[in-house]
């Protein structure tokens, strides 16, 4: 096997620190205001594609063309994943996985085909290219509308996620010590009997070449911490999971969370839930902290604005969208109030969806999905642009093509989707102070939404009742249930720039076979009037 391995440790330490990286995500300049131009992705260069990988790429593309492809791309992926899990005073799992392979995608007579193999050799890529073309031709039989790709310029270059300290370089003892120290702090809290904490780390190195002349290499780093404490009462148990957002960031982010220093406070919330009052059902003003609201954005704005979903392509699994058809919704559908602006991007620093180029070689973009409360545009890939360019005037792909690994085909995935801050510098406390009767939700609890993204039901890890501008105590078993257009149109207060926070997930699911997407959502605290609060406990 001829492909050479680069020494990641050496190149990581040589990476130039990007101006702005390492700061907390809530600082002002990580939040672009509406209509700001996308920041340039021309950032620290890691070494360009290996000569051997480049040769294999060209071989794959040539074989694909010979087999009849009008367009083809080839993606080499090297994935290194490390996972550490602990409970109480022991380590339950330490694992390190590497996976390397190549996938070829072909367009023959307007039909897609894809084939992937772990044999990264001349014979392997040839077979994959031929198999992909074969699959394309087999799909032709049941074809109605040939795929048309929007133009994309050939790009060459390399990029890597800017980090101060590569998490893969950090010794295992340091990682384990941090987690066990957090557990120990939590176990000091009365009634806390169980605690689990962990880390998921990923380094993805991707080389993409296309028949348009694109050849790009990117290295992504993503980290995801986890912490849950469980309190045992008399015939009852309550858990608290702190919302530790996964990020496209390095060890500095994980260290900055100070899990050992905060674990005691987090665990005491689990204990407090044991004696919290069970919520009284009814209509309340709902105040959502960003640690909870980000997921509501993901489910009720992120997903319905995926264009393929709106056109029915996810009907068999993830569902369809009420934000359809495009001709009835673009510029017409009122999603929320005038001060509501929702941005899509693959550019926010420390975000999970940040790239220089997507999996079709399209440069990262920043655009508005919702502008002044009106739905404006969808998420798109190259083959989707022509479906709506007449309505949006946009001729380029927004760069949403992504595959979770070398063995999966790339398709339209969610970019970061963020609720932009309001004009006034308001905080969660300011919103509480303005509220007569409400419930505050923090962190994620349960989440569920229907197949067209209308009816949803969410809860948090902790909720608090608000009376006459003050927190009146913790309540439990609470969930909020609403209908998307009614919900966003009932929003009447929104936080300012200092309250902006970047949540996210490694586990955004879509597609058949299902693939996981990593995505971040920035948002501010917000208030929603007169929302239905239900009780999901034993009495519910």
């Amino acid at each position: 096997m001829s492909s050479s391995r680069r020494d990641f440790l050496k190149t990581a330490s040589a990476a130039v620190a990007l101006a702005g990286c390492g700061r907390a995500a809530s600082t002002l300049d990580t939040v672009p205001s509406p209509q700001q131009a996308a920041p340039s992705p021309g950032l620290p260069q890691s070494s360009p594609a290996d000569a051997s990988v480049r040769d294999l790429a060209m071989e794959a593309l040539n074989v694909a063309k010979d087999a009849g492809a009008s367009y083809a791309d080839v993606r080499f992926g090297r994935y290194r994943r490390q996972s550490i899990n602990t409970r109480e005073r022991q380590v339950t799992n330490v694992s390190d996985t590497e996976s390397y392979g190549v996938g070829v995608r072909t367009l023959v007579n307007g039909a897609w085909g894809f084939a992937a193999t772990n044999e990264v050799t001349r014979e392997g890529v040839q077979m994959a290219a031929r198999e992909a073309a074969r699959i394309s031709r087999a799909a032709r039989a049941a074809q109605k509308r040939p795929v048309v790709l929007a133009a994309a310029s050939a790009v060459t270059g390399s990029w890597r996620t800017p980090v101060q300290r590569d998490p893969m370089d950090v010794p295992i003892e340091e990682k384990v010590a941090m987690l066990l120290s957090a557990n120990e702090a939590a176990l000091r809290v009365p009634k806390i009997r169980f605690v689990s904490s962990g880390l998921q780390l990923l380094r993805e190195e991707k080389t993409l070449a296309t028949t348009d002349g694109t050849l790009v290499t990117q290295t992504f780093v993503r980290v995801g911490p986890q912490f849950t404490a469980t309190a045992i009462g008399d015939g009852d148990f309550q858990a608290y999971t702190h919302e530790l957002a996964p990020r496209g960031s390095g060890w500095e982010y994980l260290a900055g969370l100070d899990m050992p220093g905060n674990a005691e406070r987090w665990a005491s919330l689990a204990a407090e839930k044991l004696s919290a009052r069970s919520v009284e059902v009814g209509r309340y003003d709902l105040i959502l902290d960003p640690t909870n609201l980000w997921l509501t954005i993901h489910e009720s704005i992120g997903h319905p604005t995926e264009l393929d979903r709106a056109m029915g392509y996810e009907a068999n699994y993830a569902g369809t969208s009420f934000v359809a058809p495009p001709e009835k919704t673009i510029g017409k559908l009122r999603y929320g109030p005038e001060f509501m602006n929702v941005q899509a991007d693959r550019t926010q620093p420390e975000s999970l969806a940040r790239v220089a180029w997507d999996d079709e070689g399209v440069p990262a973009d920043t655009w508005l999905l919702i502008e002044r409360g009106l739905f404006k545009d969808y998420q798109t890939t190259r083959d989707q642009v022509s479906w709506i360019s007449g309505l949006t005037g946009v001729q380029r792909s927004h760069g949403c093509s992504f595959a979770q690994s070398w063995s999966d085909v790339q398709f339209q995935r969610m970019p970061n989707v963020s609720l932009l801050p309001g004009e006034r510098e308001l905080s969660l406390d300011d919103i509480v102070a303005d509220t007569k009767r409400g419930i505050v939700f923090k962190n994620r609890g349960s989440w569920s939404i229907d197949q067209q993204r209308y009816n949803f039901q969410f809860s948090g890890q902790v909720s608090y009742e608000v009376r006459d501008g003050r927190i009146a105590g913790m309540v439990k078993d609470a969930a909020y249930q609403s209908r998307t257009p009614d919900f966003w149109n009932s929003m009447d207060m929104i936080g300012g720039r200092s309250s902006y926070w970047l949540g996210g997930s490694f586990g955004d699911g879509k597609g058949e076979p299902a693939q996981s997407n990593s995505v971040s959502h920035g948002c501010v605290p917000a208030r929603f009037r007169n929302v239905n609060i239900i009780n999901t406990g034993r009495q519910g």
């Binding site: 899990n85 022991q90 339950t92 799992n93 330490v94 694992s95 390190d96 590497e98 996976s99 390397y100 392979g101 085909g113 894809f114 084939a115 992937a116 193999t117 772990n118 994959a128 799909a139 039989a141 049941a142 074809q143 109605k144 295992i172 003892e173 384990v176 066990l180 009997r193 169980f194 469980t230 045992i232 015939g235 009852d236 148990f237 858990a239 056109m311 029915g312 009907a315 068999n316 699994y317 569902g319 369809t320 349960s446 989440w447 569920s448 939404i449 229907d450 197949q451 067209q452 209308y454 009816n455 039901q457 078993d477 249930q481 058949e512 239905n532 239900i534 999901t536 406990g537 034993r538």
Partner: protein
């Protein structure tokens, strides 16, 4: 791509090489090697045409090394000797740096592991892109023919996926070797009417492709789509429901976590008792409910050993309504002085004691769904559910939505289509509200359940979604 199944001997030679690589780079007290190898081929369609289709092959080798009670695992898909040595070395280095795990156990020696040969069917492994495209065409033709005037305008989407290969092979430095190959194919389809008010779903699958009828699937989904047009809303509340097997499976698959012995004994499960102990031996469901796991069951044909190589036999979780067996990891079984049931994950046991390996089957009666409907005075017929998530671990209370074919039953007949509901219900409570059971059917690999008629199912709010 043409794949040749790695034979038992070929896999043994790979695991021997991995064990030799481990011995060459260090002296761990224990080494376990897990291999998975195979092929997957898929064809997705929407709007009456194939949208994406692909296939991939891979072989992964996981090496878990232990020094005393220090354990770690490293995985690779590069199979040359140098890569195996590198992976073994990484695994050993990580293990030496890990703290001791007081619950670590030595790996197993040779075990009496059975073979489930019929879990692998050549016909499924041979499902070429052309054959898959042809199957999709049959689904589309079937849907069109069953939709009458709407036939040409019906929006039909779906997915066909075939998998074949070595599902799992385990080898240890103490002489264990186990090998299991399996194949499986699933075909599902959703049909939607052009006015956007009707939607129907159907799914079928088997280990052997020759048992699947694509045209019939298309017809079933299309009939439901046409029948579900212009749904009417009825008030949320508690209703008698007839749940098709897919709907029952959606709910039953929320249960396995509750059967962990450790969680139950630690007070963290619906089967924990106030004051200590578990509800084993107590009635927790209707006496007609029997729920078990057994890899040799001809409807399940599951893997007869877990990732540690521990043989998996028959585990009866609920026996005629009584909570019978809980699932014990090796560590927890040893602590409690009972036999382990197996099911640990690839990277060593996690605290609660494994999942339900070997598949899950709920015994049924003999009635068809139509017969259950005929015996219903007033109720709601549910095809399947969507987006089920936990609300409360203490009661297994979950929430979700109905989807793709929800109908009103009056005096034994389906009378009109209904708007979809959100429900808040617990599958555990549901098993206590059973009115009647239908025939058990395979819903997907490792899940065989009957249709059910259930009383007082809680529909909590209406959904506009079709």
């Amino acid at each position: 791509m043409p794949i040749k199944l790695l034979s038992r001997d070929e896999v043994k030679s790979l695991t021997d090489r991995a064990l030799a690589a481990s011995a060459a780079v260090g002296q761990p007290d224990d080494v376990r090697v897990n291999v998975q190898s195979g092929w997957t081929g898929n064809t997705r369609f929407a709007g009456g045409e194939i949208t994406t289709a692909g296939g991939s092959t891979d072989t992964t080798v996981a090496i878990t090394s232990s020094f005393g009670r220090r354990t770690a695992a490293a995985t690779t898909n590069l199979l040359d000797d140098a890569s195996l040595r590198r992976t073994a070395e990484l695994s050993q280095r990580l293990a030496k740096l890990s703290p001791e795990d007081p619950e670590a156990l030595p790996t197993l020696g040779a075990q009496p592991v059975g073979t489930i040969a019929s879990a692998y069917a050549e016909r499924t492994a041979d499902l070429t892109p052309e054959a898959r495209a042809l199957a999709v065409q049959r689904v589309l033709d079937g849907a069109r023919s069953a939709a009458g005037d709407l036939g040409n305008d019906l929006f039909v989407a779906g997915y066909l996926e075939a998998n074949a290969g070595v599902a799992q092979a385990v080898a240890t430095s103490r002489g264990l070797f186990a090998y299991h190959a399996s194949s499986d194919v699933t075909l599902s389809t959703t049909a939607r009417t052009p006015d956007g008010t009707g939607s129907g779903y159907a799914v079928a699958g088997a280990r052997d492709w020759s048992l699947v009828d694509p045209a019939e699937l298309g017809r079933r989904a299309a009939r439901k789509a046409v029948a579900s047009r212009n749904p009417q809303a009825i008030e949320p509340g508690q209703y008698t429901v007839v749940l098709e097997p897919q709907a029952v499976a959606d709910l039953i698959s929320q249960l396995p976590g509750s059967f962990q012995a450790r969680a139950a004994e630690e007070g963290r499960s619906p089967f924990s008792k106030k004051g200590g102990g578990t509800k084993v031996g107590e009635r927790i469901a209707d006496p007609r409910v029997t729920l078990f796991s057994d890899p040799t069951d001809p409807d399940l044909l599951g893997q007869p050993f877990d990732a540690e190589g521990l043989p998996i036999g028959r585990t009866v979780l609920i026996d005629n309504g009584v909570l019978k067996d809980l699932v014990y990891s090796r560590y927890w079984a040893q602590r409690r002085g009972v036999a382990p049931t197996g099911g640990a994950s690839t990277y060593g046991g996690f605290g609660g004691g494994g999942g339900i390996a070997g598949g899950l089957k709920m015994a049924g009666g003999s009635k068809s769904v139509d017969e259950l409907i005929a015996g219903t005075e007033r109720g709601v017929l549910v095809t399947h559910f969507f987006y089920i998530r936990f609300l409360d671990q203490r009661t297994v209370m979950v929430t979700g939505l109905t989807r793709d074919g929800t109908f009103l039953i009056e005096k034994g007949k389906v009378t009109r289509p209904l708007k979809n509901f959100r429900f808040n219900e617990s599958p555990l409570f549901m098993l206590n509200k059973i009115d009647d059971l239908g025939r058990a059917e395979r819903v997907r690999a490792g899940m065989v359940v009957p249709s059910l008629r259930v009383r007082d199912f809680n529909f909590s709010s209406l959904s506009d979604a079709v």
